[in-house]
Symmetry: C2
Subunit: 238 residues, 2 copies
Amino acid sequence: MDRAPQHKSQTARIGDLLRELIVGARYAPGQKLRIDDLCSELEGSSSAVREALSRLTAEGLVVALPQKGFVVAPISRHDLIDLTEVRVHIEQRCLEQSIRAGDIEWEGRILSIRHRFLALSGAYKKAGSPEARRWHQLHQQFHDELTSGCANRWWRRLRRQLYMQSERYRRLSGPFADYDRDVDGEHRTLADAVLARDVKQATALITNHLRTTTDILLASSMEFSDDETPSSQAATAG
Amino acid sequence: MDRAPQHKSQTARIGDLLRELIVGARYAPGQKLRIDDLCSELEGSSSAVREALSRLTAEGLVVALPQKGFVVAPISRHDLIDLTEVRVHIEQRCLEQSIRAGDIEWEGRILSIRHRFLALSGAYKKAGSPEARRWHQLHQQFHDELTSGCANRWWRRLRRQLYMQSERYRRLSGPFADYDRDVDGEHRTLADAVLARDVKQATALITNHLRTTTDILLASSMEFSDDETPSSQAATAG
DNA sequence: TTGCAATACAAAATGCATATTTTTTGCTTT
DNA sequence: AAAGCAAAAAATATGCATTTTGTATTGCAA
């Protein structure tokens, strides 16, 4: 085949696509990921798909069942609660160090992304639209930049890993979970506190930001793997 | 009857082998990992080797250079310092929660592993020997059990990830780094503090344990990637 | 004439695709 | 209902094409 000279390897391309699909809630938790289906859907060979899946396994987005293939990582209330606790802790450390070490360039990047991000206010509500996609991109970049002053690569690496996990839970709930919530305001005041180098205020705000999101998700109508279905309730009751 | 008792897939087998080889410092940091060599060395096909390498990539033990293959993750003083800071934080959280939530079974497991581990006192000094290998296994299990009471799977997962990274640095230094150090004593008093449910004492001990190790490694004759070699010094000087 | 550099060619290794083997799962038959 | 058989899917092996790297030769300059 005379394929175009892609500087990005097939594996990387498929891996990024799959991550986007899983985090973007296009694939349901626990769903079986059949190699052949993914090959035709993502237009790649089984080697590339398999390799991408292996990498996502170590990221915790995919689970490998020996001799049985791959499934999308399941979700549960318990997992979300655990995840949130750890993430709060790590976001706090990243923010704290970022505020202490951030330079003028860093301040500039925050001002820039805050401006661009808030300009897309509410775009995430149009689920599946290009604007929503752009909003999610900028949201990720916004939180990335806030913590980009943190010089410790391991903190940043773990933060990114946990962000992906949380983001999946958020996207799984649809855009309706935080209906009457001032998301823009939360982000604006957070950026303000960071730029004002107010560590105490910033860590308090990010903590509240994340905890609130989790509380909303837990109270939402989202289906968790550890929820008891009516049938299973009847089964245990009968 | 006559079916091979290999319930472990080839990929998993090769992945575990490779992890052991890299963490055990059998492969040098930055070393190129040629697929063909690994195939004959580990007795597997290129598919399996490639898949195992992909997984280790996400674990941070291997780095993939697009179109150029895989190399063992490089090491540096900076990385070790960052890693240690993060690990201290996370080990503290795990220990704290483990102490608060651990039950009788958990206490039993700690007593058991402490007994078996301390019985192998000093075995790690015989580098490459079966006893040293056993010692490293039990050392890992010892620290695992201390934190096994922590109910939060994400804390435990991150802890394990960072343990592997730190362990590699430790093994790379050889068994001589902590020559006149009372390693047994440190482990014994740590286990005592944990069993006594003394959070403050236990976290202080683990912090000191990890920081001391890192200080010794940084002061040792270990070669880091960010060390200036005589030739590069001469080059920059001239 | 000699030394250095640049380019081109060859060898090797990576990355992708296809084929084969093994395992699992579901269905049929006894 | 249990056991065996068949179909499907996953795991593994092999083969080919593309890219990279090392080396050698040639050309230019001193």
